[in-house]
Symmetry: C2
Subunit: 328 residues, 2 copies
């Protein structure tokens, strides 16, 4: 070993450096092969909010995916924003809201059973809750924005038991009325609608319905969290104003699906919208408000960590995600 004195080191004795023999470390770490857990916390006044990612979906993009836009145009747009064509990678982001008195979970993701069928793409909520140090038994309220499967399937474990056994389940009254009505089910006009009616009946076990409490619009469902009608995506689709002190935030649910598609192109009609025209009207109204009031928004289908702001553009709106903060 060549001796490098502190003095020569401080002087930057480059002549010595190259001649120092290097001893290869014995250990070599194998590749990890696993993604990090995905949760993210922030404070809104006195309320602690945690985005808990459930993964992403992977829907094929065909000519019916956007009702009023051909597949080729959708794919060209996806390429322009550096995303894969032909597949819609839609993120799922349930949210914990802890107001210091109650711990609520807003929407539940695709459910534990999907973890296997999706090969880990989604159904990750319970894993990520565990990483976040949250016991599902400690959740006091599950609040649902609407009854699509990616929002309600996670109410059940893989064995159909309750995922949140001590939680009251708050549901939009109009949403429950619409989907649980057998007459409406009989009038389902598309296979997708039929699938939704059946899936909702699968998830709405006796155990689930025993814990249901319907809520109305413009009501406080927990301290600091108030329901807002944002219909179109579904007949009872609901968003939430969250406020604490002088801080406020809009939890939009599915006012847009992924914003990189539907905020940027607010006129695009997603096949999942029950009433696409009403959904577009709601979207424009909400996004005009978000942009003009410079309001923070949390979106279930926003890319993790699913929080940002919205600016108006020539052709629609653009979401601007927050920068990861290492402290709350």
């Amino acid at each position: 070993m060549v001796e490098i004195t502190r003095r020569s080191a401080l002087a930057g004795a480059l002549i010595n450096i190259a001649s120092v023999p290097y001893t290869q470390a014995m250990a070599f770490a194998p590749q990890a092969g696993q993604q990090a857990p995905a949760y993210y916390r922030y404070k809104l006044g006195e309320i602690e909010i945690t985005t808990v990612n459930d993964g992403v979906g992977a829907l094929p993009i065909d000519d019916g995916f956007i009702l009023n836009v051909p597949k080729d145009q959708v794919n060209a747009y996806l390429r322009s924003i550096f995303m894969e064509p032909n597949i819609y990678s839609g993120p799922y982001n349930p949210v914990l809201i802890n107001n210091g008195k109650q711990l609520a979970l807003l929407d539940t993701g695709q459910g534990e059973a999907n973890l296997t069928t999706s090969k880990g793409l989604n159904g990750r909520l319970l894993q990520n809750l565990k990483a976040a140090g949250v016991d599902p038994k400690d959740i006091d309220l599950v609040i649902l924005t609407h009854y699509h499967g990616d929002h309600i399937n996670g109410l059940l474990r893989a064995d159909n038991s309750l995922a949140f056994p001590n939680a009251e389940i708050l549901v939009p009254e109009m949403e429950d009325k619409f989907w649980m009505d057998d007459g409406n089910m009989g009038r389902a006009a598309t296979p997708r609608m039929e699938f939704n009616f059946k899936n909702i009946r699968r998830v709405m076990t006796k155990d689930v319905r025993t814990r249901l409490r319907p809520y109305q619009w413009n009501k406080e469902v927990m301290s600091g969290v108030s329901s807002v009608a944002t219909i179109g995506h579904t007949p009872g689709h609901t968003s939430f104003n969250v406020t604490s002190g002088d801080k406020s935030l809009f939890m939009q649910g599915d006012v847009t699906h992924a914003p990189f598609l539907f905020a940027r192109n607010p006129g695009w009609h997603l096949f999942l919208d029950v009433d696409p025209v009403a959904a577009e009207a709601t979207r424009r109204k909400v996004y005009d408000m978000l942009a003009s009031e410079r309001m923070m928004v949390q979106g279930f289908h926003y890319p993790f960590p699913a929080i940002g702001h919205v600016e108006k553009t020539a052709s629609g709106y653009r979401e601007i995600l927050v920068q990861w903060s290492p402290v709350l």
Copy 2:
């Protein structure tokens, strides 16, 4: 307890729901008060790459922060992108590169000692490495892009011992020559330059210099990782082409500091640039290449997870971060 039969549940017996008494859960979970660990993995061909966040800096924005733009204009711009004025929140993102044979760490963050002085804002690398399951002893190579403190301070623990005791430390030959030259130190024209010369001598302990190996440009420093001269920010500033099979990626180091400022406004001259004019020329050349070749880029000062693509805009460039993927 009102009995709800499966049949009535399936039929959506709303009339019963409201009358079910709700038993308040006994447990209540306190707020967590802590951010999630911040690391993110992805594959580039056969190479596994992990962004390991060190936190963010917090530099005051005064009229000297951007040399050629007044403070008020910088603050107006920050507000327009929904960021706080008066403070530059610059993220720090060291990167692990595991090519299946060696595990390398690219740049080291602000160092463990800063964890206390910054109140947790930065100096988080060792914590986040631990969360990622990586033992600092298993790191074979530390590769430095340049000698600014936020890239080299993490070579040392709080007690000045080596943070990565088994790693060879690969440094740009030109960078080492410039900063270790006492004549250059004597010619330091600004307090910032003087500070840098002194800080580098503080970090370059005998233990560090014993493990140094200078590398030249256009050389493979580990299998799949090649050095590229990108000078201006510092005289020896270096970026890396990372390739595996038909996949490639540009690790830009500080070609831009935070892209929301310096990719969007490539003509802005940061006071930290040793040669701002050369830095701008390098920035425009690299970003023209990234945009025209649609190349993935990883940036030390990009917001976590610090990977994205670049598009050209009317006034400069815009970074488009990747969407969080739950699988590799």
